[in-house]
Assembly symmetry: none
Homo-oligomer: 210 residues x 4
DNA sequence: CATGAATGAGATTTCATTCAT
DNA sequence: AATGAATGAAATCTCATTCAT
């Protein structure tokens, strides 16, 4: 029974976080009311407080989940057959999950929040480190690195990849609603490939993407 | 007198916006109260409402100011003797003005806000267009472009520059307080030069920056 | 089995009341939550409701228990060999039971509650009558009364004893934590003896208390 | 203008405290809502917070007012032509001000609160010291003291007076509504005179009160 | 032009109580 | 008998905005 109870509890927790994520992405942390979240989750306000001590704790929990998502993303990227494909996985990651804007909007809010909330800042910093380390490893072991004549080390390349990745994501929150998920995907792929070519390709002609 | 009144008014407006900017950057739009702003500006709450119809209007006004700042930044970049130097101007722009984090935090908040506020979205989109067009022009006329063998057109290059620029800025809101402005500057310069090399340099050895 | 069940139930009831008493004394009736009580009693919230219809009922039950405590106190006082000793029993009663402040704080809260809760008021009034009658009887039968030249009748003397008793108890909730139980006892004894001397002694020299 | 503003503010503050006092006495600190107070004062909830940072601060403010009331009561007592009359002033003080029960109920609540609220405890302790010192001085200078053969010093007598005073007040919160203010006054006077006789009178026959 | 007192809706959070298991 | 998840009303406190002075 304790197992079932635990499962049930975890489901509830998930359900609440899912609702919160959607609300936060739609309205921002501080414009989303607990009532909004409870309504979206289809439960009462009070129940949320059995799972989270405060609204801030929910934000932190979501930030922690984000960290896990990033970790699993990196694993998937590590499994990719080539560095180019790994980069494609990374650059398109926020285009698939859930609805288009949701994730981007959430992450931008997360950074904004991190700039004034120690607790969130700590988590987001750790996300950044996870990402940087993961990709640096990816690059370090890739055959492309040796061919690269850019003179940049794995660390610098990783940082560039992520800055560009975050930058496109930040800008994507403004892409008009009529841009479909697959169009966004295309755009992201284009950026990823462009960067790959810049970093590792020496033949300009091979750059076959539009 | 009307002229003086006008001047006075504009000063007041500036004074209020200056205070608001600081508060917004410190606490975020929706966690900053009108009282916070009035206190920072050293005036009464009521007076703010003689200059701005609402809080939202202040955000919009600041977004508009941001747009002007970007425009003037682009002018300065256009005056730079070389494309590399232009990129250096662009990448370090948010490191000088006011205190370190202030501007970055504000801009990240602005994007977050834009993702759910039509009015702000409109302005920020126009900022993005301004930037993109400005830099595209910069590149189009630069001698480097012809030498570039990346196969990317001016537009794509401009987008990459800005995505990277926004990405590093977004990440900078998390740089610890003990990172000085000049250190941040250094970091930004490094990124700018790396990108420049990737885009336009064919001699890997020339990449002399650390 | 029904007998055992009943016994069990009574134990439970006692256990709950004991926990409630402690919580109430520590935090006050209306700042103690049912959860606090259930936690202190080591049971679930729901179980409390099998024994008490509501929180108010618990307060009433505790008031009723207090009434019994007072009745038994009076019996003990009646068994005392002299009136002075009876008074000593009465004045020190709240110093022994449980931890020092607990009982005083509870009783003061009980009076506060009684001033706006009919049900509690009824019980507390009855406590007061019990006390008054009991002590009046004690005095009426005591040899001291005849010697007393104060001109006060048993009823008036009883009232004075209790007003003084309640007054010292009310003030004792403020005695700092570093006053030990035995010190409090000393203080109460001193007051009891002083009053006894005032009421019944005609030789000022016999007033041997410190 | 600043003077008028100040006056206005003080009036407001007074008005709010007056309303709060009534509500607190009627319902207790923790059963009175801010809305109750604002309704009783005829203002909005928000306005209360311009004058008091929190509910707790209002309680503290009222406790501080109580302290002043006690100080002024002691001054009046000191002006009384005789010690007996001084005691009469003291014992009847809570019968006149405002409506009958209000003050008593408030003070009992104040003691209850003091038993778990450091801030209030501090104030109430200081009230107790003020009272004790004031009356001890009163007694020390009175001619009765010399005649007293009780063997009690001024300090002990003062404490007895106050314990009795507080005790009768605590008990008065339970006097039924049909007991008029003047009847309560009578009762208090009776107690005061009884005590005076016990303390200072040597002729039992002179005890002329009922 | 300038103030800041005043409003009242709304946000977060708590809690007595119920009820399915 | 016993649990504790669930509810939702209510409490405290905040804040954008208005308006009399």
């Amino acid at each position: 029974m304790s197992e079932k109870t635990l499962t049930l509890s975890l489901d509830r927790r998930e359900q609440i976080l899912e609702a919160a994520m959607t609300c936060f992405a739609e309205c921002g942390f501080h414009q989303t009311s607990m009532h909004d979240i409870s309504a979206k989750a289809g439960i009462s306000v009070g129940l949320i407080y059995r799972y989270f001590k405060s609204k801030e704790e929910m934000i932190a929990a979501l930030a922690a989940e984000h960290k896990k998502d990033i970790a699993s993303l990196l694993e998937r990227a590590a499994d990719a057959p080539s560095l180019l494909e790994a980069m494609e996985v990374i650059f398109t990651s926020h285009c698939c999950a859930r609805s288009p804007h949701i994730l981007s909007a959430f992450v931008v809010d997360l950074f904004a929040e991190a700039s004034r909330n120690r607790r969130v800042a700590k988590i987001v910093r750790s996300v950044m480190r996870t990402k940087a380390a993961g990709v640096a490893a990816l690059i370090a072991r890739s055959p492309e690195l040796k061919k690269a004549k850019s003179g940049l080390d794995a660390q610098a390349i990783a940082e560039m990849i992520f800055a560009l990745n975050d930058g496109t994501m930040m800008r994507s929150v403004l892409s008009p609603a009529n841009v479909s998920v697959s169009q966004q995907r295309e755009g992201q792929l284009k950026v990823a490939r462009s960067l790959w070519h810049l970093l590792f390709s020496h033949t300009s002609h091979g750059n076959g993407h539009r």
